[in-house]
C-alpha cells in the first residue's frame, strides 16, 4: 500500500480540480535534486520556537493547554538530518487561524500568531513550545471537522526531500473521520503522523510533551531507489 497520498482523492473535494491527471515524469536525480538550500542557526531568533510567547505582548502568553512538541528529523535510513529548517503553523486553542481568509467564528487570541520555526541540531533533534490547537470545521460538502493538527514544513539535504505534512494527536476521534487524513491509504502511514503523549518529557505542573518524528525520503545517495510512491 502506498505511503503517500494519491493526487486525486475525491472525498477531499479540493483535490478534484487540483490533481494532475497525467502520470508524473520520472527522472534520475541530478545536481538540482541532490542539493538544496541550507539555513544558518543565526537565522533563528530566541523565541522563534516558542509560539506561546513569540506573538504575545510583553508579559502576556497565548491561551490554551501548554505543550512541547519534540522529536527527530530522520532520513529513510534512520539517519538524523541535522541543520535542517523546520517551520510550523497551526490554529489557536479555539481552532481559529490568524489569516485573512479564515472566517471561523471562534475568536482570535491577541497573543497568538500561530507560526514558529527552528533548525535541527547535530542529532536531527528539534523541539518547540506551543498551545494545543483546537479542531475546526471546514467546508468540504458535509459536516467536516479537522482533527487538531500542526502543519510542518521540512527541508532535507536535497531538494527532492522537500516535505510539507501535518502532525495529529494520539487519540483524536476525528482522525478516522477526516477526508484529508484519509487521503493516505495506509493506516500505518497515518499512525506515523500521530504524535504520542510523552510523559518522560512532560514537566510536572507546567506542560505536557508530545513526541513526533519526521522521516524524509532516503539519504540523498539512495534517492533513486527510494522514489516517491504517490503518483
Amino acid at each position: 500500500m502506498s505511503l503517500q497520498p494519491q493526487a486525486l482523492t475525491p472525498d477531499y473535494r479540493s483535490s478534484r480540480l487540483r490533481s494532475p491527471s497525467h502520470k508524473l515524469l520520472s527522472l534520475a536525480p541530478g545536481a538540482g535534486e541532490l542539493t538544496g538550500p541550507t539555513f544558518g542557526h543565526d537565522l533563528i531568533g530566541p523565541n522563534d520556537n516558542n509560539l506561546i510567547i513569540n506573538y504575545a505582548a510583553p508579559g502576556q502568553a497565548a491561551i490554551g493547554e501548554q505543550i512541547m512538541v519534540h522529536g527527530h528529523l530522520l532520513d529513510g535510513n534512520a539517519r538524523p538530518v541535522s541543520n535542517a529548517l523546520l517551520e510550523f503553523w497551526q490554529a489557536n486553542a479555539g481552532g481559529r487561524y490568524r489569516h485573512k481568509k479564515d472566517g471561523y467564528l471562534s475568536p482570535l487570541d491577541p497573543n497568538f500568531g500561530g507560526c514558529g520555526r527552528t533548525i535541527t541540531d547535530a542529532d536531527g533533534y528539534y523541539s518547540f513550545r506551543t498551545v494545543r490547537p483546537g479542531p475546526y470545521p471546514w467546508p468540504n460538502g458535509g459536516n467536516d471537522w479537522r482533527p487538531a493538527h500542526i502543519h510542518f514544513s521540512c527541508f532535507g539535504v536535497g531538494w527532492a526531500q522537500r516535505l510539507i505534512t501535518q502532525m495529529y494527536f494520539e487519540g483524536d476521534p476525528h482522525i478516522p473521520l477526516c477526508p484529508i487524513v484519509q487521503t493516505i491509504a495506509d493506516p500505518q502511514a497515518i499512525d506515523s503522523l500521530t504524535a504520542r503523549l510523552d510523559m518522560a518529557h512532560t514537566e510536572p505542573m507546567n506542560f505536557r510533551a508530545f513526541r513526533f518524528d519526521v522521516i524524509l525520503r532516503g539519504k540523498v545517495s539512495t534517492l533513486f531507489e527510494n522514489k516517491l510512491e504517490g503518483n
Binding site: H22, L25, T35, F39, H99, G114, A189, V214
Partner: protein, 185 residues
C-alpha cells in the same frame, strides 16, 4: 526501507502563516522578513530577468492559495557553491489573480541539462507537493534529457517560459488540456 517515510499532507489554505507570515498578515513575525523573498543577493553576477505567471486549476480558475518555491543554479551552473540559500526563493501567489513574479538571474546549463529553475508547488487540494521545471525559450533546449522524455510537443512546451522583453512568462496548470508536466524527482 521505503516503508519509513512520513506521508505528505496538503499545505492547506493557510500555508502562509508558517512560510510567509508577513503575507498572512503577521507583519512583525521574524522581523517582518519572509524567507525566500530574494533568490539571489543583488550583486550576484549574471543576466537579471523577471519570471512571472499565474497558476490555474482544471477548470481554468486561479489557484489563489498556492505557494511556490524555486531552486536554481547560478550563472556558472552551480547550485549554492557557497552553501546557504542563494538560488532558493519562495512566493505566495496573489490572493485574487494567483499571479507570482520573481527577479532572478538566468541559470547556466548543468551537465547535459539545459538551463532551468526547479519549482515546487503546494496549495490546498494538492496532497503531495508538485515538482516541475521552468526552461527558457531563448536557450538551447534540444539536448535536455527531461524535455526529450516528453513525447507530446504541446506538453513539452508547458515547461518552457516564453520571453517578452526582460520578462519570462510561465503559467502553471494543475490539470486539464494545458496541464503542466510534473516530475517524480
Amino acid at each position: 526501507m521505503t516503508r519509513f517515510q512520513s506521508a505528505s499532507q496538503t499545505a492547506g489554505p493557510y500555508v502562509h502563516i508558517g512560510c510567509t507570515p508577513s503575507f498572512a498578515g503577521l507583519e512583525n513575525m521574524y522581523g517582518g522578513h519572509d524567507l525566500g523573498a530574494d533568490i539571489f543577493s543583488p550583486d550576484t553576477p549574471g543576466t537579471w530577468v523577471t519570471v512571472s505567471g499565474r497558476i490555474f486549476d482544471g477548470e481554468g480558475m486561479p489557484v489563489t492559495d498556492a505557494m511556490l518555491e524555486f531552486w536554481q543554479a547560478d550563472s556558472f551552473g552551480h547550485y549554492a557553491p557557497q552553501g546557504g540559500s542563494e538560488g532558493w526563493g519562495r512566493r505566495a501567489v496573489d490572493a485574487q489573480a494567483a499571479s507570482y513574479s520573481v527577479n532572478t538571474i538566468l541559470p547556466a546549463a548543468v551537465g547535459d541539462e539545459a538551463p532551468h529553475i526547479n519549482v515546487w508547488v503546494v496549495a490546498r487540494g494538492v496532497n503531495l507537493g508538485l515538482h516541475t521545471r521552468i526552461y527558457f525559450d531563448c536557450a538551447d533546449n534540444e539536448q535536455d534529457p527531461v524535455l526529450a522524455a516528453i513525447d507530446d510537443p504541446a506538453r513539452r512546451s508547458s515547461l518552457i517560459a516564453t520571453r517578452d522583453g526582460d520578462t519570462y512568462n510561465f503559467d502553471i496548470h494543475l490539470q486539464g488540456d494545458k496541464e503542466t508536466v510534473f516530475l517524480n524527482v
